[in-house]
């Protein structure tokens, strides 16, 4: 029997993996990819709740999340391109002009 908890644990795992990706990856693009994992963990959680609550709002929320994610990715990629243009690297380790 698959319960809500299964889905929640799964989404938790996804979220954790995404978080780990953001912390450890150095390529700006891959960090953005990890962010997508975060969003989708939340999406999964929403949909699972929607299913077990018998309420469609969760699914609607996911719809909005996707739009937002799309926008963020669009901007994110644009900034990544700019970054590459100005510094010829996407390595976030090297992007530390602004500090202290």
């Amino acid at each position: 029997m698959i319960t809500l908890n299964h889905y929640l644990i799964l989404s938790g795992c996804l979220f954790a993996i995404g978080m780990y990706g953001i912390i450890t990856r150095r390529n700006a693009l891959l960090i953005l990819l990890s962010v997508e994992l975060l969003f989708n963990a939340a999406n999964l959680s929403f949909v699972a709740y929607a299913r077990y609550l018998g309420d469609l709002t969760g699914q609607v929320f996911v719809f909005f999340t996707m739009v937002v994610a799309a926008c963020e990715v669009a901007i994110g990629l644009a900034v990544a391109i700019l970054l590459f243009r100005t510094r010829e690297t996407l390595n976030t380790d090297e992007i530390n002009t602004l500090k202290w």
């Binding site: 809500l4 929640l8 989404s11 979220f15 995404g18 978080m19 953001i22 700006a28 960090i31 953005l32 962010v35 975060l38 969003f39 963990a41 939340a42 959680s45 929403f46 699972a48 709740y49 077990y52 609550l53 309420d55 709002t57 969760g58 609607v60 929320f61 909005f64 999340t65 937002v68 926008c71 963020e72 901007i75 994110g76 644009a78 900034v79 990544a80 700019l82 970054l83 243009r85 100005t86 510094r87 976030t92 992007i95 002009t97 602004l98 500090k99 202290w100």
Partner: protein, 480 residues
């Protein structure tokens, strides 16, 4: 949708309209292009007038709900909207000054300012997590673009990518948190969530985690420790009008959401969060104020000091209740007016002195008494010195903390006043004591007028506190 509903949406609608006008003018009317800044500023002023009229009509009552209650036009929302639009006007003036020098294509910049502003306006009225999330994202996404706007400037781009990554992380957190709240209450509607919370005898841990993640996400905007690390870097790298907008608009938006969540959603769990909030507030206070001491770059400096101010606001939120909420509103009012005045000076200096270093302010009082005087007033107000508005704001905040028995936090806040006074005075020292670093700086009338008005505001709010306290009180009284 009835007429009242439409009326309550009026400012947002007008901002959207203004966006299209700007967009269209930018694309099709090259003759107007030069005057886009003025157009936007005047447009926003008109909208502000309209909003004030709306508030006047409302007279402290809830004005209306639309879209099944997801959009709420209550006094608190109006209060915030007025502040947001005021911020918008000033930021447009700043942007115009900045862009003149930067030789950029201004159309889309104004568009982005307006879209961020629009997000804030919706945020102030949001009564549903979906609307909240979407409007927060509208604000954030606009800011991503604006931060990285100086495409050829490494620092601007660096700020952009940092803001983007961390912003996305915080959005993810917030989203994840909202999902738990939704899951445990079965609704994303604030009223329904509150109702469900009221019905619970004990809070399920997962719901608490949800609230925590939500607060983390909003705390990111507000600049609460430990979610504040982006602030100094992004403030420093961003184009300076954007820094101003971030430090006033975005921070206010964060607090608007946080406050609404606190007073209208998780109010039943008030007590549980008080200590957590107090600890966060304490850390934020200390971090911001200590960090500001060694700063040399004015934007970064304001970044840190802004974190310090977030600490005071969080103190009021931790204190909670009516007086806490009132304190937050008054503090934000004072903070907005003061910060905008400060940024008017800072941006003007940054553009005309071509430096963001604090040493550029040496002897400013000789070079331009007006600029120095305005910055002097605003710095002292930020430090919380009577008879300026910042003093009364801190007074209210500390008072609310004391009222809730958070004496230790009040003492900490009080001591931080001293630290903040120290670093603000170092800047004052540069302006008034150090010998001037150059000739006289002329200030055009278009800058003088808002500057004078804001200075008047700083002093006026500080001296005649009554009406403003009443305003802040009436904005939150509905929740208690």
């Amino acid at each position: 949708m009835n007429l009242a509903g439409f009326c309550s949406l009026l400012p947002e609608a007008l901002v959207i309209a203004l966006m299209f006008v700007v967009f269209a003018a930018d694309l099709f009317l090259p003759s107007i292009k030069k005057r886009l800044g003025g157009l936007t500023a005047w447009g926003l002023t008109a909208i502000l007038a309209c909003l004030l009229w709306q508030g006047f009509l409302a007279g402290g009552q809830k004005f209306g709900e639309t879209f099944q209650g997801t959009f709420l036009c209550d006094p608190m929302a109006l209060f915030f909207k007025a502040l947001f639009i005021l911020t918008g006007i000033i930021v447009v003036i700043l942007a115009r000054e900045f862009l003149k020098k930067a030789d950029k294509n201004p159309g889309e910049f104004y568009l982005l300012i307006l879209s961020a502003l629009l997000g804030m306006l919706f945020l102030a009225s949001a009564n549903d997590f979906i609307l909240l999330f979407v409007s927060v994202e509208l604000v954030t996404v606009s800011f991503y673009v604006m931060t990285a706007y100086l495409k050829t400037d490494q620092r601007s781009v660096e700020a952009g990518i940092k803001y983007l990554i961390l912003g996305a992380l915080s959005s993810g957190m917030m989203l994840y948190g909202i999902s738990f709240i939704y899951g445990h209450t079965g609704s994303t509607h604030f009223d329904a969530v509150r109702g469900a919370l009221f019905g619970m005898t004990s809070a399920p841990p997962l719901l608490l985690l949800g609230i925590l993640l939500l607060i983390a996400g909003l705390g990111f905007k507000a600049g609460a420790v430990p979610f504040q690390l982006w602030i100094p870097d992004v403030y420093e790298g961003a184009p300076i009008p954007v820094t101003a907008f971030l430090s006033v608009g975005s921070k206010m938006a964060g607090f608007a959401a946080l406050l609404r969540i606190c007073v209208s959603v998780i109010a039943p769990f008030d007590k549980k969060w008080a200590l957590l909030m107090a600890v966060i507030a304490a850390m934020t206070l200390v971090y911001g104020n200590l960090g500001a001491i060694p700063q040399k770059n004015i934007k970064r400096f304001f970044g840190y000091s802004g974190i310090g101010h977030a600490g005071y606001l969080l103190t009021a939120i931790a204190a909670g209740g009516f007086s806490g909420a009132r304190g937050v509103l008054f503090y934000l009012l004072s903070y907005a007016v003061t910060m905008l005045a400060a940024f008017l000076v800072v941006v003007y200096c940054s553009v005309h002195l071509e430096s963001d270093d604090m040493s550029a302010y040496d002897g400013l009082s000789r070079r331009s008494p007006l600029l120095a005087g305005a910055l002097f007033l605003s710095l002292l107000s930020l430090a919380g010195v009577p008879p300026l508005s910042g003093f009364f704001a801190k007074f209210l905040v500390l008072s609310s903390a004391v009222e809730k028995g958070l004496i230790w936090l009040a003492v900490l806040g009080a001591l931080n006043v001293v630290i903040s006074l120290y670093y603000y005075l170092t800047l004052v020292k540069r302006m008034y004591i150090h010998p001037p670093a150059g000739g006289v700086i002329a200030v055009p009338l278009s800058f003088q007028i808002p500057l004078y008005l804001l200075m008047l505001g700083i002093v006026g709010i500080g001296v005649v506190q009554g009406p403003f306290v009443r305003l802040a009180a009436s904005a939150v009284s509905g929740f208690f």
